[in-house]
């Protein structure tokens, strides 16, 4: 295969980082060399890749080796440090953090929704917040059915959104509680076993937390609708790795028929309709986990509003909400001819 790329992953030992590696394998991503980077604390770990093992290196921003594509997944602070360094080394940077998402010159992309926002010369692309990505996968097919006037949603967000440590905490704390012990939160601010709580990010002056504010701002940017009305409540639930959303979409005009919504969802790339009323089978996070597709169901007219339809959605936070979407951005860039492998033989 001619298109083989020198690829780097920053944050390779995190929950999202590990999904990058397994998605590279599963999707046969055209990799010539793979450099795995993390904090010095995690450096030296070995990660399996295609039957071999790769030693994780400590990331040092003034020592970035030549690279074609860099996936950054180590938080906004490190992205601000490392994105310029990778770009200087010639890389296309796809950044999973919030650092550049709202910068006007940086495209914020879910390929199925707005790959058209990318220019051939772009070398820094932002990957959206996981909830925004999963939401827009479900909402985007509706845009062809009418003018969307308002979106309201309540979320059911999994532990994975807070990282591998939060998943461990949910697992361990639940075991402790089942054994009759007491929850002692360390990673999360509140007991997590058999409990749920408002999303653990700071609250702004409007009474919205950071996660909710990201969903609003990022969805507006990706849809190109800077004034779109979006009401959102983000909640953390004791689920391991997929996010679920209860969504209502109000149109400017009468709501489309349920059959038209179902057909639009079935036609849409990356969506799987799970909507069996007879069997009471609808999107569930357990079934969304490990899946590339976002599950959409409970498609119905909102009986409280003549212009609204309601949906229930579940998507893997680590995949379409993070690693998979970032890789798909790169795949679309490759397919569009926006990036080419460097000619260097070494890394």
């Amino acid at each position: 295969m001619p298109n083989e790329f020198h690829v780097a992953v920053l944050g390779a030992t995190g929950a999202v980082g590990r999904e990058f590696i397994s998605q590279f394998e599963r999707r046969n991503f055209p990799i010539k060399s793979l450099s795995l980077l993390a904090s010095s604390r995690s450096a030296g770990q070995c990660i399996s890749y295609l039957g071999g093992e790769i030693v994780v290196d400590a990331a040092i921003s003034d020592d970035i080796k030549m690279c074609d594509i860099a996936f950054l997944s180590a938080g906004a602070t490190l992205s601000r440090e490392f994105a310029p360094a990778f770009m200087a080394a010639g890389a296309l940077v796809i950044d999973n953090s919030s650092a550049f998402r709202l910068s006007p010159e940086v495209p914020l992309v879910v390929p199925e929704v707005n790959f058209a926002a990318v220019k051939p010369s772009d070398r820094l692309i932002a990957n959206p917040n996981c909830t925004a990505a999963i939401l827009l996968m479900a909402v985007s097919p509706l845009m062809s059915l009418g003018k969307v006037a308002r979106i309201t949603l309540s979320t059911y967000q999994s532990a994975s959104g807070a990282g591998a440590q939060a998943m461990d905490e949910l697992r361990e704390q639940t075991g402790t509680v089942l054994a009759g012990g007491t929850a002692n939160p360390r990673v999360m601010p509140h007991p997590y076993a058999f409990n749920l709580f408002s999303h653990n990010t700071p609250i702004n002056e409007h009474g919205y937390n950071d996660e909710e504010w990201k969903v609003i701002a990022e969805s507006r940017k990706m849809l190109g609708l800077p004034d779109l009305a979006i009401g959102v409540t983000c909640v953390r639930v004791p689920v391991m790795r997929a996010h679920s959303l209860s969504v209502t979409v109000e149109f400017d005009g009468p709501a489309p028929e349920v059959s038209a919504v179902r057909e639009a969802m079935q036609r849409a790339s990356g969506i799987k309709v799970v909507d069996d009323r007879e069997a009471n089978h609808f999107p569930m996070p357990l079934e969304a986990s490990g899946q590339s597709e976002v599950l959409v169901g409970r498609i119905r007219k909102d009986v409280s509003h003549p212009s609204a339809i309601s949906l229930f959605v579940a998507g893997d936070q680590l995949l379409k909400g993070a690693a998979l979407n970032a890789i798909q951005i790169a795949e679309h860039m490759i397919a569009a001819g926006y990036i080419h492998p460097s000619n260097a033989d070494d890394e």
Copy 2:
């Protein structure tokens, strides 16, 4: 105390039944004799009450002993059989099932919301669906701030709403999954450990499940607003015993100020405001469990609609959502002088 009543509980061995008994003790309910009834399968069990033990009798509808107040909590089919029998025996019947909730001649009551719906002569009162009761506790204080035009909510409902067996299943199945085993649902239709699913009741032709339809119809009846727009999505989450609700209320006219909403909630009986933005401390099911009060927080203007405010609510499904509300109905009936103890000395 002169007002001492012969009391019966049908369904005494269920999750709600056991809460009746502990609430009788905690609230010092004026009981002269307590008769605990259940199916013949559960008869013979001993239940502690005030330091003694009461043997559960098999319920036989043509052998109902004299009784002043009967609390029915054994499902709609048994309520239809036993309510007339208890009424014939002279009892005030407070029914926890859905059997009579929508009958025009039967008051459906949350005392803080609509005790005025009860006439002195009423001898059958329906206790609402748990989600409707908790919702109306939070919405009712808003009615004084403007005309409510639409309510939308998404729920986070606990295992207790499906009974003691569902709670056991959640506990056992979670242990199995933590030990590396596979979930084998028996009580619930889907795996429950670290998962969530659309409420496990049949779906009607509008695409709504029974639980959602109850929330709509019962809320309208209790508020006396038969056409009120209510949009609802009911979801079962892996939480043990309190229900949480993400609620948006749209007014006919501008939304009230957050401070006015908070004050109305603080004035309301049975509500505890948990709304600490600094500490990121809002209503959680774990903190609502075992509490008489319904917790209300995340009070904010809905940024997506000029007439709407949003709330997050948590209430103990077994208490305000069931046993406690039923007992409070009886307490209000006693305080209002609508019932008096019979003079019989035996039971």
